[in-house]
């Protein structure tokens, strides 16, 4: 379990990237918090810098889009999912529970 930031520092539409290996991106999509692997599965781009729309984040490099709930790509050029990670808020602090190396969602 990794502390990320205070909840108020992650406003709606906001995102943060945490320097885990591999890095994880945490999003506040209309009040719901989601965490996925930060690196796009297509090439080298940081999804925390992507464009958030509803539950989808669009990669800033070639516009592949990922569903934050499942990690699945919804369009090309990405063809592989990103891993999803569980997020909790404890005492006003956002925490990420990284999924085990294998498998997808925790």
């Amino acid at each position: 379990m990794i502390p990320v930031c205070r909840l108020e520092d992650l406003p709606t539409g906001g995102s943060v990237r945490i320097d885990t290996a591999p890095p994880i991106a945490v999003f506040n999509a209309d009040g719901e918090l989601y965490a996925i692997d930060d690196t796009c599965t297509h090439q080298d781009a940081s999804l925390s810098e992507g464009w958030l729309e509803g539950c989808l984040v669009e990669c800033p490099l070639h516009e592949a889009s990922f569903d934050l709930r499942t990690g699945q790509p919804t369009c090309l050029p990405a063809r592989r999912p990103v891993r999803t990670h569980r997020v909790t808020v404890e005492d006003g602090v956002v925490h990420v529970h990284p999924a085990a190396e294998e498998g997808t969602a925790a």
Binding site: G13, E49, G50, E58, L76
Partner: protein
Amino acid sequence: MRTVTVVGASLAGLYAARELRAQGFDGRLVIVGEETHRPYDRPPLSKDFLTGKADEDQLALSDVDETLELGAEWMFGVRARGLDARGRTVLLEDGRTVSTDGVVIATGASARRLPGPALMGVHTLRTLDDARSLRAELLSGPRRVVVIGGGFIGAETASSCAGLGHSVTVVEAAPLPLLPQLGPEMAAVCAGLHHRGGVELVTGVGVAALRGDVAVNGVELVDGRVLPADVVVVGIGAVPNTGWLAGSTLALHDGVLCDDGCVTALPQVVAVGDVARVGGARAEHWTSATAQPRVAVRNLLAGRTVETVRPLPYFWSDQYGSRIQFAGRRRDGDLVRVVEGAVEDGSFLALYERDGVTTAALAIDRPRPFTRVRRELTRGDARPAVPVAAEPVVAGVAEPVAQGFAEPMAL
């Protein structure tokens, strides 16, 4: 249509094959590729592939499952030699022919070469084989590298070579690299990246000749200077691969001439990607190659142009640890304004403007604000169009775009 032949197992060719299936074409699908490789992505060749950070697996555009699902007949390592006058038969170099009802031309472009005899150590960087041979040479010890041409391929190659510890010089004939693409202000900013990366940039002087007998040993400039070199990378652009169509009835002029819907003079022949001159313009952009096939295939299956495509020009480049992104249609004389960040900090967003209307955007390491502007430009582009006229756009006509831009930008 019972058979469709895609000529070119390229990015655009693969996207066209996918679109054919996605849009319900269930006939025979033949894909002809000159290279022996399955479709791969070219942009990483001058970057992560060259430095060894990415391997060939990561370049693959498709996997086994998808390949099976496409249900196509692949012909690799064979070049198309001709297309008959009616566009019904594709002739292959090995003498075979493919009878077909529809054709998608996706033969791409080839790296332009310097005249003169071939010398060892002289490379172009366009194909996987090009990249393999350059990579092998770069990984076998320190070299003096001269890159001819300071465009994106040249700059990325120079950056990768410098990153591997080679001593690198870039020669650019124009006063600055990337002038036509970026304009003087931003071209100067990007030129500065070479310096920061420890690469020498020689501008405003052309190349007279390559020196050497069997292997290259230097590059002679028109002012008489000679730059010693063990490796020369020639990055002076690409020419569309239309030679095989010389005997066809298609109109060729710096590419295959198409209407705005990628349809050629023959309604059952469409062209996509680097080889296609769509609506008067040929864009060697990754995003054109991926955006055109959907529309081209739709028109091919409809038998006439029912949809047009005009993707907002977008390109990106990674060099010396910086990511440059550019989108829009800049014209000479546009004003450039940095609106976020600062050039000195190496992270900024600049807008190009004409008559108060944003025409294009350039960002270095500023992805999210860049995306915001790119989306706005795309939206402006999609509006009932300001006619593409040679005359300067009058303010009144351009206004709707300006208003579009002033709207609050929803996240």
